[in-house]
């Protein structure tokens, strides 16, 4: 595996993201919606913190808990909508236009193609997430929120995004229709999301396994500012699994074609 080859592919993908409206559209969408969430969270925070009833209860109002956490949680939900749009074209587009023939007949390994494309998707996702930093930086102008939980929260968003992007990359490789890839990715992401719900009522081993598989459940800790190796390992293994499936599917499609 050569880093150089991965980077060549990654650069090309990034360029084509930014040469099309996708990147800007997603960033604008995220800026708008995330900005609204931030506004709503701070507004609630301001109202509550000036409420004498709350002060009487002796509950200290905390920016991290009342603003940063809900904004991060909501941002991760937005990821659910944006990730299919990022990954759907990765392979489907190349298959439809025939450019996959160029990649497949160049002296470059499948895994390098996959990693390059996935990395480009991750970097675009980072750019999108970075937009929300504008909102949160306002908190630093007027106060002194804790930095560490914020960084952990962003790490969580990044890991969660990367793992869904890996799944999306795999799905994009199985079809030549972008829309099919997008819709299927959205369906799978949604499913992985709601698996967490069983934890509310099912505490049997099966229920625990199912809720363990949920991408959402693992994000909660990050949003709270808790860095647990269990969650990191979960995300890393899903990334690995998604990319591994992609290599297998490339191989399979070549032999079956």
């Amino acid at each position: 595996m050569s880093i150089g080859n991965i980077w060549i592919l990654c650069k090309k993908e990034l360029k084509s993201y930014f040469a099309s409206p996708i990147a800007y559209g997603l960033m604008a969408f995220f800026a708008l919606v995330c900005g609204y969430f931030f506004y709503a969270a701070t507004a609630i925070f301001v109202v509550r913190s000036t409420d004498p009833m709350m002060a009487q209860r002796g509950m200290p109002m905390d920016v991290t808990e009342w603003v940063i956490r809900p904004v991060l949680m909501n941002a991760s939900v937005l990821g659910l909508f944006m990730i299919p749009m990022i990954t759907m074209r990765l392979f489907a587009e190349e298959k439809r236009s025939g450019t996959i023939e160029l990649l497949a007949t160049s002296p470059i390994r499948d895994i390098e193609i996959i990693l390059g494309k996935w990395l480009a998707a991750v970097l675009l996702y980072v750019c999108i997430l970075a937009v929300s930093a504008i909102d949160l930086s306002i908190l630093f102008i007027y106060g002194k929120p804790e930095v560490k939980p914020l960084l952990v929260g962003y790490l969580g968003l990044l890991l969660q995004g990367s793992c869904l992007l890996a799944i999306g990359t795999f799905i994009s490789n199985t079809t030549r229709h972008q829309l099919v890839a997008g819709a299927a990715t959205f369906a799978v992401c949604l499913l992985l999301w709601v698996l967490d719900w069983v934890s509310a009522y099912d505490s049997t081993p099966t229920g625990r396994v199912i809720s363990y598989l949920s991408v959402m459940g693992h994000f909660e800790n990050f949003a709270k500012g808790v860095l647990d190796s269990k969650d990191v390992i979960y995300y890393l293994s899903v990334i690995f699994f998604g990319l591994f499936l992609t290599t297998r599917s490339m191989e399979y499609l070549r032999w079956r074609a």
């Binding site: 996959i100 023939e101 007949t105």
Partner: protein, 321 residues
């Protein structure tokens, strides 16, 4: 340079290529000829390591496409039927990207990009977006990117498809120029192109190899009987077509006389000889003796087209037995 032995490629339901063997020498231009769906693209895809063969072996520059794919890919330039272009890239950017993909170092790459652009006549659109290019330019950009790494073998799948006659002529002469440095396989179903550019022809039909030979050999191999065009003019007055036809049919060795057309008072016939007979001399004498003017007399070679039809239709008969 290229060696294919017993190559078979089966898809789920049909056999695309059936036990094909051929060899291509270094520096040759070989035409890969066959009707649509004959298995040309599949064979090329196997040679470029895009598809694995079901059975048989294929070697490029001494490397096996299955076990040494990386080495093969490094030595091959491939232009698929639709050039694999990214519309959002600029021409020079795209060619540079392909160069990097093929493993060329960054140093000197820009110079090489300029070289191939010059070579393929796309230097004037170097900074244009590919999406803005015409079909002919796209084809040449594809060709430029296929030779960026100076490959030993160049595989071109229908390089002239969809081009207008002028672009077609340009592309073919460009390919001809590239020969010598590169071994070239080009596929087409347009026969005159092969006659113009290629030294050898490989004809396949329905996945089977029908013939492989030089263009001249194929021509002479299939030309047992002689076909002659004869044009006759009356010395004065009018000449009835039937009279001339009868006269020509009486010439010894003639098997068939076909009236073609009348140009003013001149009559044009196509005369076919019996197998292995030369009839031109007798035809000339017969016309002159009848006191007509012989205005034209020349042999018509069987075109590759006719050879092709003969060969492919004979395999069809063989296949239906």
């Amino acid at each position: 340079m290229i060696k294919v032995e017993g190559l078979t490629k089966r898809y789920a339901r049909n056999v695309a290529v059936d036990n094909i063997s051929f060899e291509v020498e270094k520096g040759q231009i070989v035409g890969f000829l066959g009707p649509n769906g004959a298995g040309k693209t599949t064979t090329m895809r196997v040679l470029t390591c895009f598809l694995p063969p079901t059975e048989g072996k294929a070697q490029v520059a001494g490397f096996d496409v299955m076990t040494q794919a990386m080495e093969v890919k490094r030595r091959i330039g491939y232009l698929p039927e639709t050039p694999p272009l990214y519309p959002e890239m600029e021409v020079s950017e795209y060619i540079e990207f392909v160069g990097r993909l093929k493993g060329l170092p960054r140093a000197g790459l820009l110079k090489r990009v300029d070289e191939v652009c010059e070579r393929c006549n796309v230097a004037d659109v170097k900074s244009k977006l590919i999406s803005k290019l015409s079909k002919g330019y796209r084809q040449r950009v594809g060709l430029a990117s296929a030779i960026i790494h100076n490959p030993d073998v160049l595989i071109l799948d229908e390089p002239t498809a969809g081009l207008d006659p002028e672009q077609r002529r340009e592309t073919l002469s460009l390919i001809k120029e590239l020969a010598g440095e590169h071994t070239i396989i080009l596929s087409t179903h347009i026969l005159p192109e092969v006659e113009q550019t290629c030294q050898r022809v490989i004809i396949i039909s329905k996945g089977k190899l029908v013939a492989t030979d030089t263009v001249e050999n194929l021509n002479s191999r299939l030309r047992g009987a002689e076909l002659v065009a004869v044009e006759v003019e009356p010395r004065n007055g009018h000449l009835a077509q039937e009279v001339v036809q009868q006269k020509l049919e009486q010439v010894p060795g003639v098997s068939r006389v076909l009236f073609r057309e009348q140009r003013n008072s001149r009559l044009l016939f196509e005369v076919e000889s019996l197998q292995g007979r030369s009839i031109r001399g007798d035809l000339a004498r017969a016309v002159v003796q009848a006191d007509w003017n012989l205005t034209e007399l020349h042999p018509i070679g069987l075109s590759l087209e006719e050879i092709f039809i003969q060969l492919t239709s004979s395999t069809e008969k063989g296949g239906s037995k």
